[in-house]
Structure formats: structure tokens, C-alpha cells
């Protein structure tokens, strides 16, 4: 896999290239993840370079969210391993900020926007201790950066979808990570939020951070990101947008003709003994 790694580093050639000499933000080796007996990620080998905005794209059910979850240890792989900056995730927690999908939480929860952002600091606060005033101020500063400081005291169910997304990103920001993993930060947001999210991502890149975001909108991939990971159960392609985000690769990821493999697969499966006993 080193070849792909070098290829990326070379093709990237970005100001962050120097930083990429150390261990890479994410190395995924031979990763297979299944829910029950249904595989979601299969034999994925992947390395991600430092200091880039990286989009993870692929059709529904391609395992995009699962990839992020596997990186932060939320799902246990059947085979393979993931390393974050050269170490297992557990030792690199404080280097990583993870933002789940906005729909994954209950926005009726009785808490304020500021409180949600403060949650990003809990990892640093540690077990049992309470967040201090300093933490609150840091959280406020993060809300400020996303332009919603005035919403700090607002109950979260009273925020619009875009504002909720910005609260989530402020929370990620509060984690002061080197690597940000964001699950669909652009999903279902208004134009203002989209701009705010984009400028946040660009700020992060300027600071040399790495952002990996699951993205749905193929139109904006090239505009918003500089690297792309095309995923469809297997890794289809990964690399700089210019060379990787090609029509062929997109077609390979998104399929199209329901012929070829599906037919072959059906034929092959029908040869298996029925019932498939133990």
C-alpha cells in the first residue's frame, strides 16, 4: 500500500506536505466490517494524507458513515485494523474530533447550544470532573467562530436545522483536534450555513488540520474538497480530486448498469447449496 501512499503525498504536494512526513492521520488496512452477516465495508486499504479536506463519497449504503465509525472505534471490524497518526485510536482520542450525523441525536433534549458545544471539551475534562468557566469560554469562542454566539443560551430544539449543524461543528471545533471526521456536515443545511461550514473547513485547512467529511453532493466535491475517497463497499479510488474524481471512477463507484456483476453474482449464488447450512 506504500505505493498509493507515496502517490498521494507526491500528487498532493501541498504546503502541508512537510507535515505528512510523520505518521499519517489515518491508515486503514484490510478492513472488513459487517452488520450481522451483511458486509458494509470490505477489504478496504486506505491512507489519508495530512492537511487536506477529504470528501468521502459513494452511493447510499456504500459504507461511508461506517468508515468514519470504524476509524473512531464505534464499530468493530471483522478483520483489519485502523491507525490514527500511527497508533490505535484509543491512544489518539484527543487528536480527533468526530461529528456524527445531525439526525442521530434527539434535538428535544433539554439542553442549550452552549452546553452541546461544551460537550466537545468533555474528553479533555475527563471522568468525574465538571467543565470549568474556562471551558465555557472556549465553547463560546467556538460558537462565535460559526457566527452563532447569540444563540448560546437557546434551547437546541428551537434552532433551525442549519443552526443545529453549526452548533455541531462548533462542538467539533472545541475539540481542538488535528483530524476532524464529519458525517455529512452539509446535509440539509441552508445557504448561509453552507457558507459558514465551508469557510470553517478552509480555516481548518489553513491551520494544517485534516478534515474527512462524508459528502453527498457530487456537484460540489471538486469545489469544496481537494482530496476524495470513492467508496462502494470496497474502496474504488482515493487521491487528489483532480486525478481521482474522474467520470470513470464516479461511474465505478455509483455503478449504473444493473448488469455484469449482479448477473454473475446471481448465477454464482444460485449454484450454492440451498439453505447454506453450517
Amino acid at each position: 500500500m506504500t505505493s498509493r501512499l507515496e502517490e498521494m503525498a507526491a500528487a498532493g504536494g501541498s504546503p502541508a506536505g512537510a507535515a505528512a512526513i510523520g505518521p499519517l492521520p489515518v491508515e486503514v488496512h484490510d478492513l472488513t466490517v459487517a452488520y450481522g452477516t451483511q458486509p458494509v465495508l470490505w477489504d478496504v486499504d486506505l491512507t489519508l494524507p495530512e492537511g487536506h479536506l477529504i470528501a468521502v463519497v459513494g452511493p447510499n449504503g456504500a459504507g461511508k458513515s461506517t468508515l468514519l465509525k470504524a476509524i473512531v472505534g464505534l464499530v468493530r471490524p471483522i478483520t483489519g485494523w485502523v491507525k490514527v497518526y500511527g497508533e490505535p485510536y484509543e491512544r489518539r482520542r484527543s487528536w480527533v474530533g468526530y461529528t456524527p450525523q445531525r439526525e442521530s441525536v434527539d434535538w428535544d433534549f433539554p439542553t442549550s447550544a452552549l452546553d452541546v458545544v461544551t460537550m466537545g471539551l468533555y474528553g479533555r475534562v475527563g471522568w468525574f470532573r465538571r467543565p470549568s468557566r474556562r471551558h465555557r469560554e472556549m465553547a463560546l469562542a467556538c460558537l462565535e467562530k460559526l457566527g452563532i454566539r447569540d444563540l448560546a443560551g437557546r434551547q437546541i430544539s428551537q434552532l433551525s436545522g442549519g443552526q443545529q449543524q453549526r452548533v455541531f461543528l462548533a462542538r467539533a471545533l472545541a475539540q481542538e483536534a488535528r483530524l476532524y471526521l464529519m458525517d455529512e456536515p452539509f446535509a440539509g443545511v441552508d445557504a448561509t450555513t453552507e457558507k459558514a461550514v465551508l469557510s470553517l473547513l478552509q480555516d481548518l485547512r489553513r491551520e494544517g488540520k485534516t478534515v474527512v467529511a462524508v459528502h453527498h453532493d457530487l456537484q460540489t466535491v471538486a469545489e469544496y474538497f481537494d482530496h476524495v475517497v470513492l467508496l462502494n463497499l470496497r474502496l474504488v479510488a482515493a487521491g487528489p480530486v483532480a486525478t481521482t474524481f474522474t467520470p470513470e471512477n464516479i461511474h465505478r463507484a455509483y455503478g449504473g448498469r444493473p448488469t455484469g456483476l449482479s448477473q454473475a453474482a446471481e448465477a454464482l449464488l444460485s449454484r450454492r447449496p440451498p439453505g447454506g447450512g453450517p
Binding site: R234, L261, P278
Partner: protein
């Protein structure tokens, strides 16, 4: 003999309940309203007590009418709370079942302190006391139960739509809201039928457990409903007989335990869905994947060093996939036992047979990978489901077929040699 007469009544009553509850329970289960039944059953208690207080008699017709009234009130309460407040359904159900039941307890304890109230026998509605069922009770139950079954038979098609695709049903012009109300009324009616046999507290089991068991055996609603009725009726009968033969075995809980046993058996052993089979299958698949992976790894190491006769130390193998020593040890044990590998200390080497086997595994893997790379159009869901299983489940003929399809390639996408077909 009086005993056999009582037992006959009890048997009839509890099998009747089993059948009716099993049938209606299927719809509650599929609509994910299992616990609404629990709330409705608990909500029947205050109705029984109120009816007793108001009518001043323990005529079962009045009591059951009271149960029905508060049962429906409880259902309405859940509906209103979920629809109009931010309180979620689980809490709303919890509120109804505990508060209505509490009111029932308040009234019940009050009645017991009234002159003559101690003999009211209302507390038999808590756990049911089938032994007190008399012929008139049975008549009421039979009429009510028969009516429920009749209604289900009449609107079966519509109920099916309600459970399967509410929006589609509505688009066909059926009033889904009306059907929901009807289903709730059916649930309440079942609760009323079961008040005297299993009582309010264990009612939920009579509704849900047979339905859940039936679900394991079939994917068709019709079959599921029939089976749930049969399982429910049988559990009722068997539980009653058991409790009649053993002293101090209350019938309600016994019936519940019988149907729970049926459920456990169904969950474990039902063909296709049974957890035992699935577990065995998954275990076999996993250990096979690990074994094949170890073969692959040993093959690759040999490939790199251009010699397969050297022993590969365990740490080197662990580095390849980040596997633990224990995991490798287990797979290695299998390989050694099958004569595919041999040991020297903690190092491992392929035997001649092992090398041939490994070559086939690698061949399969590389051809498959090449195939996927060349014609990668994976999406459709049912292919996903078997995709992983596929690589490991491909038969040799299928692999040969792929090779032919690809025009007998020499190298995989990473430029590695594809081993040749096995010699016959």
C-alpha cells in the same frame, strides 16, 4: 365431578384467550405497539373497580364493560400525549400503565375496606383466577372473542395494509386512522377476554409472546396469524392443565411461562431464522475466513521470499493483519489438524497439501478481485448481502468460470501472479 367441570371451563377460557390474543397480538407486534397492549391491560383495572362501585354488583358483564371503557380511555390518553406534547411514546405508555393502574389500586384497596368489599374478589383480575370462571363468564368471553375474530377476518386485508404500508393503504382510500382505532378497540376487547384468565399484569405476554414466536417460523402474515392463534391456544391449554395438576401453580403465570418456552424454542430452532443456526453459520464462516486468510498470508510470505519451505514466526503473521496471537493460534490449530500446515515452536509452514490449498485460496481471491476491479458495479442490495460470503463460498467451478470470463489473466490488479488451476 365439580373439578372436571371447573377445569373444562378454565381450559375453554384460557385456550379461547390464547387464540384471540395470539391473532390480534400479531398486528400489535408488527405495528411495533407491543407495549401499548400492556398499557391497555393495566388501564382496565380502574374500570373494573369503578364498575363495581357504580353498579354495586360483580356481574361480569358490568365489570367487563367498565374495563373496556377505561381501557379505551388509556389508549386515547397515549394517543393524545404523543400527538400533542413532546413526551415520547415510551414514556406515555409508561405513564398510562402506572397511573391508571395506581388509580385502580386506590379503588381496589378502598373497595376491600368497604363492608363486604373483601368478598368482592376483584383482586382476581390482577393475575387472573381461572378457577373462578363460571359458565356465564365463558359465554361473555366466547361472544366477545368470537366477535374479535370475526372482525379480524372481515378487515384482514386492510389490517395487513396498515401494518405493512400505512401511506399506501391511505392512498388506496382506506381510512388508516379508523383502522388504527379499530385495532386499538380489538386490543382492548382481547384484554377484557383475558382479564379472568391471565389478569391485567401478564396480559401483554398473552398478546405478544405467541405472535413473536409465530413470527420466527414464517414470513407470511396469514400463516403468522394462524400460527400465533394455534400457539396461543395451545399454551393456554397446556398452562392450565399444568397448573391444575400441580398444587399452588397459578394458571396465569404458568400460561405465560409455557408460551415463553415456545418462544425461546422458536427463536433458537426455527428454520432459517433460528438463532442457533445463524450462530453456527456465522461461526463457521468466521473461522473459515480466518483460516483462509492465514493460508493466504502464509502463501504471500512465501511468494515474497520465493520459497515456501521456511517457517514463518508468529509475530510476522500477527503484523500482517493486526490479529492477536490467540486468533492466529486457533486458526493455526485448525490448519495443522487438517494437515495443511506444520509447526515448529510458534512458527508455521505450509505442507505440500497446504500449499496447494493456499494457492487455490489465493487464486480465488485474486481472480475475484480482478473481476471486481474490471466490472465493479456492486450496488444492488442483495449482492451486498452475500458479497463477503461469496468470495469464501465460491466453488471451484465458479472460480474457473470467472477465469474464463476474464480471458485467463496472469496477474491480479496489484500485479501479483494468479496461481494456476488445481490439477485433477
Amino acid at each position: 365431578m365439580g373439578i372436571s367441570y371447573t377445569l373444562e371451563n378454565v381450559l375453554l377460557g384460557s385456550s379461547l384467550l390464547g387464540v384471540v390474543a395470539g391473532v390480534v397480538g400479531c398486528f400489535a407486534l408488527l405495528r411495533r405497539q407491543s407495549l401499548l397492549g400492556d398499557a391497555l391491560a393495566h388501564a382496565a383495572l380502574p374500570g373494573v373497580c369503578l364498575a363495581f362501585l357504580l353498579a354495586g354488583s360483580k356481574e361480569s358483564l358490568y365489570l367487563l364493560a367498565g374495563a373496556m371503557a377505561t381501557g379505551i380511555a388509556g389508549a386515547l390518553f397515549v394517543l393524545l400525549v404523543v400527538r400533542w406534547t413532546r413526551v415520547k411514546e415510551d414514556a406515555a405508555i409508561g405513564i398510562v400503565l402506572s397511573v391508571f393502574f395506581a388509580v385502580g389500586i386506590v379503588l381496589l384497596t378502598r373497595i376491600q375496606r368497604l363492608p363486604g368489599g373483601n368478598q368482592s374478589g376483584l383482586d382476581r383480575y390482577l393475575f387472573g383466577q381461572a378457577a373462578t370462571i363460571v359458565e356465564e363468564d365463558l359465554m361473555v368471553m366466547a361472544i366477545l372473542g368470537g366477535a374479535v375474530l370475526l372482525v379480524v377476518a372481515l378487515v384482514y386485508k386492510e389490517l395487513k395494509l396498515l401494518c405493512f404500508d400505512r401511506a399506501f393503504g391511505a392512498s388506496l382510500g382506506f381510512s388508516m386512522r379508523g383502522l388504527e382505532v379499530l385495532l386499538t378497540c380489538l386490543l382492548v376487547a382481547v384484554v377484557v377476554v383475558g382479564l379472568q384468565t391471565v389478569g391485567v399484569i401478564l396480559m401483554v405476554a398473552a398478546l405478544i409472546t405467541p405472535a413473536a414466536a409465530a413470527r420466527q417460523w414464517t414470513d407470511r402474515l396469514g400463516a403468522m396469524v394462524l400460527l400465533a392463534g394455534v400457539l396461543g391456544g395451545a399454551s393456554g391449554a397446556i398452562g392450565t392443565i399444568l397448573s391444575a395438576t400441580a398444587p399452588k401453580l397459578p394458571p396465569g403465570p404458568t400460561i405465560v411461562l409455557v408460551s415463553s418456552a415456545v418462544l425461546v424454542a422458536s427463536l433458537l430452532f426455527a428454520p432459517r431464522r433460528g438463532m442457533l443456526w445463524a450462530w453456527l453459520e456465522e461461526r463457521a464462516l468466521r473461522s473459515r475466513i480466518r483460516r483462509e486468510n492465514l493460508l493466504k498470508d502464509l502463501y504471500r510470505v512465501g511468494e515474497r521470499e520465493r520459497a515456501w519451505d521456511r517457517f514463518v514466526p508468529r509475530p510476522a503473521l500477527m503484523g500482517l493483519r493486526g490479529q492477536g496471537a490467540l486468533e492466529i493460534e486457533r486458526s493455526a490449530g485448525h490448519l495443522v489438524a487438517a494437515g495443511l500446515a506444520e509447526r515448529s515452536g510458534d512458527a508455521l509452514r505450509l505442507t505440500a497439501a497446504g500449499l496447494a490449498e493456499a494457492a487455490q485460496v489465493v487464486r480465488k481471491h485474486r481472480l475475484w478481485e480482478l473481476y471486481l476491479a474490471r466490472r465493479l458495479e456492486l450496488p444492488t442490495d442483495h449482492v451486498h448481502r452475500d458479497a463477503e460470503a461469496m468470495e469464501h463460498a465460491l466453488s471451484e467451478e465458479a472460480v474457473d468460470g470467472i477465469e474464463e470470463l476474464l480471458g485467463f489473466p496472469k496477474e491480479d490488479p496489484h500485479g501479483r501472479l494468479i496461481p494456476a488451476r488445481r490439477r485433477p
